[in-house]
């Protein structure tokens, strides 16, 4: 009788798997990140929740971090993989600084590096379970790109990960225009984050907004959005149809 239980399906081509540790599913996850280009640079928003399955385990997770002098990285998905990516980028930036040649890695370069890393990991069937948003400004040129866990990358005027793709992107497609002011950009981001708060079950009402311009990166203190629950129809929804809900 055979006691070892193999997790592979019969027609799998992956080879002997007894002690490999590929990522099969994420554990602690962050929800969507939304970002857009505005007049002076990039604005990015993400909430501070880290969910452990259906529990809201961590409420103080910073999912946006500055990278070098010119970039800002936001991540959704597995938090531990995000921390690993930060380590890789730390090494990358350090190596770049050691050259001390007056040149520094801009957002386009960092985005390319991340794309290569994510795609290579996916090819080995051991992905970094993240959807990343990379924004930055270098020499007046604004750049905003995204990389998914399978290596799909592209650059656009506004990007979102996860649920943000379904709920925030339609709003951004309608209301975004070139040369948004800072206030308008923040208002638009807040509009998107509010809809996400209402309709994404893993979103929490504690978010940060980060801004990157030629001068540098500013990540705001955590704050919460005002929500409205006073529609009279929600007060007693079944009053016209007793017995339903």
């Amino acid at each position: 009788m055979n006691f070892t239980v193999s997790k592979q399906p019969e027609n799998c081509l992956l080879g002997p798997e007894s002690d490999s540790q590929r990522t099969l599913y994420p554990y602690v996850t962050g929800t969507s990140v939304v970002a857009l280009k505005y007049k002076d640079g990039i604005l990015m928003a993400a909430d501070m929740g880290g969910s452990y399955g259906s529990t809201l385990r961590y409420k103080n997770v910073e999912r946006m971090k500055p990278i070098g002098k010119h970039s800002l990285l936001g991540a959704s998905g597995e938090i531990s993989d995000f921390q690993e990516i930060l380590r890789y980028l730390d090494d990358l930036i350090l190596y770049d600084n050691m050259w001390d040649d007056g040149n520094s890695l801009g957002p386009k370069e960092v985005h390319n590096y991340l794309t290569r890393v994510m795609y290579n990991r996916r090819n080995k069937f051991n992905p970094l379970w993240n959807s990343l948003v990379l924004g930055g400004v270098k020499k007046g040129e604004k750049y905003l790109g995204t990389v998914s866990m399978i290596g799909v990358n592209f650059e656009d005027n506004h990007v979102a990960t996860g649920f943000g793709n379904h709920l925030a992107r339609p709003i951004l497609r309608q209301d975004w225009h070139e040369n948004l002011s800072f206030e308008d950009g923040v208002k638009l981001l807040e509009k998107c984050m509010r809809v996400l708060l209402y309709r994404d079950r893993s979103a929490i009402n504690k978010l940060q907004i980060a801004k990157i311009t030629e001068e540098g990166v500013t990540i705001s203190q955590p704050y919460s959005l005002k929500t409205y629950w006073e529609f009279s129809a929600f007060a007693n929804p079944a009053q016209g149809a007793v017995g339903t809900w």
């Binding site: 649920f163 379904h166 709920l167 925030a168 992107r169 339609p170 709003i171 497609r173 309608q174 509009k191 509010r194 809809v195 209402y198 309709r199 529609f231 009279s232 129809a233 929600f234 929804p237 079944a238 016209g240 149809a241 007793v242 017995g243 339903t244 809900w245």
Partner: protein, 344 residues
């Protein structure tokens, strides 16, 4: 019967034959139906995982099928039909799907449907694209179905299911109106629909947005394929529901006027049309108030056919006609006038 003729090598096979012999009804002189044998054998196969047994059984089944075809006509079990679905073939379908034989895909209305309660009543909106997998099979279908003069219902999911279910409940409502002599109420339609859908346990794949105005006021409900319902001031369903909900959540307020409501509904449907691949083409709107209803078919057409030549296309003649000559066909058979040969 072929069962006895099959090659039996293992004790498990003998057990199957024993069961089959017992199962044959001694009082009625007829042979076992192949289908019955199959069910018994399958049950045995499921419970015993040994590989040998399975290969023997496949040989058994093959020999069964041949004899079965000759006997099919005279062995029909008379059982009164039970209501609802018969789930007998589910195991067979699972087995076939594993082998790669998938059932054909249904015509779905990958859709955006929305409903909104405004000051004086209810506004329903829908897109007009019907899809068959990746193909658009109907560019301008009608997703807002009539239920009663004061109640309309938008449907998402399998097109046949939404049509059939709304038609059925609509006729039930009509009969009820004749019986009671009163205007139909939205909760009546709601209850009829949800009872039917729950009965079929989600297999009738119809997700509906039901809206109407009756004596008790304006009502808007969503009904899910498994039979649960919600009562809401604004609702969206279908594959484009998230895109439409994003618009509603950011722009809805109470006490909307008629024009504001129509504009918001149109915006939500357009958001679905342009951001969701399952929705497209035109926007249908239906406004229901106490006074009556207004069905605005193709209220907005944001996807017109561009680049069509209004004068039609005239293809240049490429081949010149040099000569026209008509050669009459040679008569092979002489035709005699007034032939009566056939008439006798």
């Amino acid at each position: 019967m072929a069962v006895e003729q099959a090659n039996l090598c293992t004790p498990q096979d003998a057990a199957v034959v024993r069961t089959l012999r017992v199962f044959r009804d001694p009082h009625v002189d007829r042979e076992l139906e192949p289908a019955t044998v199959l069910i018994i054998i399958t049950k045995h196969v499921m419970s015993s995982p040994s590989l040998n047994f399975q290969t023997q059984i496949s040989g058994l089944i093959l020999s069964l099928s041949f004899s079965g075809q000759r006997n099919m006509s005279n062995s029909v079990i008379e059982v009164p039909p039970k209501g609802g679905f018969s789930f007998d073939l589910c195991k067979r379908n699972e087995m076939l799907a594993k082998k790669g034989v998938n059932p054909p895909s249904f015509r779905k209305t990958g859709t955006t449907i929305v409903g909104l309660v405004f000051q004086d009543g209810v506004i329903l909106g829908a897109d007009t694209r019907a899809t068959e997998g990746p193909i658009v099979c109907d560019k301008n279908c009608e997703k807002i179905h009539y239920m009663a003069p004061n109640i309309y219902c938008c449907g998402a999911g399998t097109a046949a299911d939404t049509e059939a279910v709304t038609d059925m409940v609509s006729s039930q409502l009509q009969l009820h109106r004749y019986h009671t002599g009163r205007e139909s109420r939205v909760v009546t339609a709601l209850t009829l629909l949800k009872r039917h859908l729950f009965n079929y346990q989600g297999h009738v794949s119809a997700a509906l947005v039901l809206g109407g105005v009756d004596v008790t006021g304006p009502h808007l409900h969503t009904i899910y394929p498994h039979g649960s319902t919600d009562t809401l001031p604004f609702a969206t369903m279908g594959s484009g529901s998230l895109a439409a909900m994003a618009v509603f959540e950011s722009k809805y307020k109470e006490g909307l006027t008629r024009n504001e409501g129509i504009e918001l509904v149109t915006e939500a449907i357009c958001s679905g049309i342009f951001n969701d691949l399952g929705s497209g083409s035109n926007v249908d709107v239906c406004v229901i108030t106490k006074g009556g209803k207004e069905y605005l078919r193709n209220h907005l057409q944001p996807n017109p056919r561009t680049y069509t030549n209004s004068k039609g296309y005239s293809f240049p003649k490429k081949t010149e006609v040099l000569l026209t000559k008509i050669i009459p066909l040679k008569e092979k058979v002489e035709i005699i006038e007034g032939g009566d040969a056939m008439e006798e």
